[in-house]
């Protein structure tokens, strides 16, 4: 069997479970660009995001025996990436939420945005509390209950922070247009 031929997803998982280094590299090459993008949604610095991605891939390789075929493999990896990113932010004490959303002000309101789908910059400029909730809710599609459990906050806080993030983004879009 030629080890350089790409594995199918199920075969790739089996090979990675057997600690096949070639399979591990194939899995890494296949998913790392998408997963780095996911990490980058939460972490502003790209180098930090890459480090977090590597740590998350280590967990993927270590815990791949726990993966069940009942869900998407990419989704399973993405969850690990998100949890690792949130864990990194928690260690940096970035996950501070302001219960009264009106106290928080958008950091850069007057900047002019080119309408070049620079969504990342829009998200980066959101206050950090509501930023993660917006990404988790709007982009990843998590429910408020799940977000509350992941971030150790109340469902009400999650809802109010999401509403606040949307309000700020709306203001930004109006300014740009």
């Amino acid at each position: 069997m030629n080890l350089k031929t790409p594995f199918s997803e199920s075969e790739l998982i089996n090979q990675v479970q057997n600690n096949n280094r070639t399979a591990q590299k194939q899995l890494f090459d296949r998913f790392s660009p998408t997963m780095l993008s996911t990490c980058r949604q939460y972490i502003k610095d790209l180098h930090n995001a890459e480090d977090v991605m590597l740590c998350a891939f280590m967990k993927v390789f270590q815990n791949i025996n726990q993966y069940r075929n009942d869900s998407s493999f990419e989704g399973w990896i993405r969850k690990i990436m998100i949890r690792e990113s949130l864990s990194f932010l928690r260690s940096k004490k970035e996950l501070d939420f302001i219960e009264d959303a009106n106290q928080s002000v958008l950091s850069v309101v007057s900047d002019s945005y080119e309408i070049s789908n620079d969504y990342q910059k829009l998200i980066d400029d959101l206050p950090k509390g509501c930023r993660y909730i917006f990404v988790l809710s709007v982009i990843e599609g998590y429910k408020h209950q799940e977000i509350a459990e992941m971030l150790n906050i109340s469902v009400g806080t999650s809802k109010s922070q999401l509403a606040y993030a949307k309000k700020l983004l709306k203001q930004q879009i109006e300014l740009i247009r």
């Binding site: 890494f28 998408t34 780095l36 993008s37 590597l54 390789f61 709007v138 982009i139 709306k170 879009i173």
Partner: protein
């Protein structure tokens, strides 16, 4: 706004960021580091179990060293019971009492005192009165005093030196003293002591002579 959110979602779902060129090398390095960690943990496990067993062994050894009583062995004598049987004031009876009962019990009590150095042995003395039969020793019926060995036993139990009492000699000297008291009741005590000293000296010379003969024979 909803359209904007959809656009944003599509954008992020399609977006890919190419990692740096050496990212796989870093990943591989992390993977290689992961294996020795497991080996180390296994080694550490064996090392810890070995250390725990050594500690357990040493602990048990110290425990049994400090508490020898915890090892099942013959029970030490906890008390010295003075013979409950009525004591006769005959010489033979006294000898028997002295040799068999007193001396043995002294040695036993002494052995016990090693084990319980701080606690003196409990002495149970016969509560019943000692019956003394008035039997003739010489011509007249006299009552000899029964020696209460309680004191001696107690002292021997406390001391670390084994005291051996020759009851026969003790009784003989007492007998001599009694005879002297009887024979010379009015004489002065100095004279009496002189006689006693002479007798002792004579006995001593006899003993030395016998001892010298024994050596010559050997």
């Amino acid at each position: 706004m909803e359209d904007f959110e959809k656009e944003m979602k599509d954008f992020f779902q399609r977006r890919e960021i190419k990692p740096s060129t050496d990212v796989w090398q870093r990943m591989e390095h992390l993977l290689n580091e992961d294996k020795p960690v497991k080996q180390k943990s296994i080694k550490l496990y064996y090392l810890l179990s070995a250390a725990a067993s050594v500690l357990l062994f040493v602990g048990l050894w110290i425990f049994f060293e400090k508490n020898p009583q915890s090892i099942p062995e013959t029970k030490p004598i906890e008390a010295v019971v003075i013979n409950n049987e009525p004591q006769k004031t005959d010489h033979k009876v006294n000898k028997k009492l002295s040799k068999e009962s007193t001396v043995k019990k002294l040695s036993k009590t002494h052995t016990h005192s090693k084990n319980t150095s701080n606690v003196p042995p409990k002495i149970i003395v016969n509560k019943e009165p000692v019956v003394t039969e008035k039997l003739p020793i010489t011509e007249k019926k006299e009552v000899y005093p029964v020696y209460d060995i309680k004191e001696e036993v107690f002292i021997a139990a406390r001391s670390n030196v084994e005291i051996k009492v020759d009851p026969q000699r003790l009784l003989e000297s007492a007998e001599v003293e009694r005879k002297m008291n009887k024979a010379m009741p009015e004489e002065k005590s100095i004279f009496r002591d002189q006689r006693l000293w002479e007798i002792i000296k004579e006995k001593h010379n006899n003993f030395i002579g016998n001892f010298a003969n024994t050596i010559e024979v050997e």
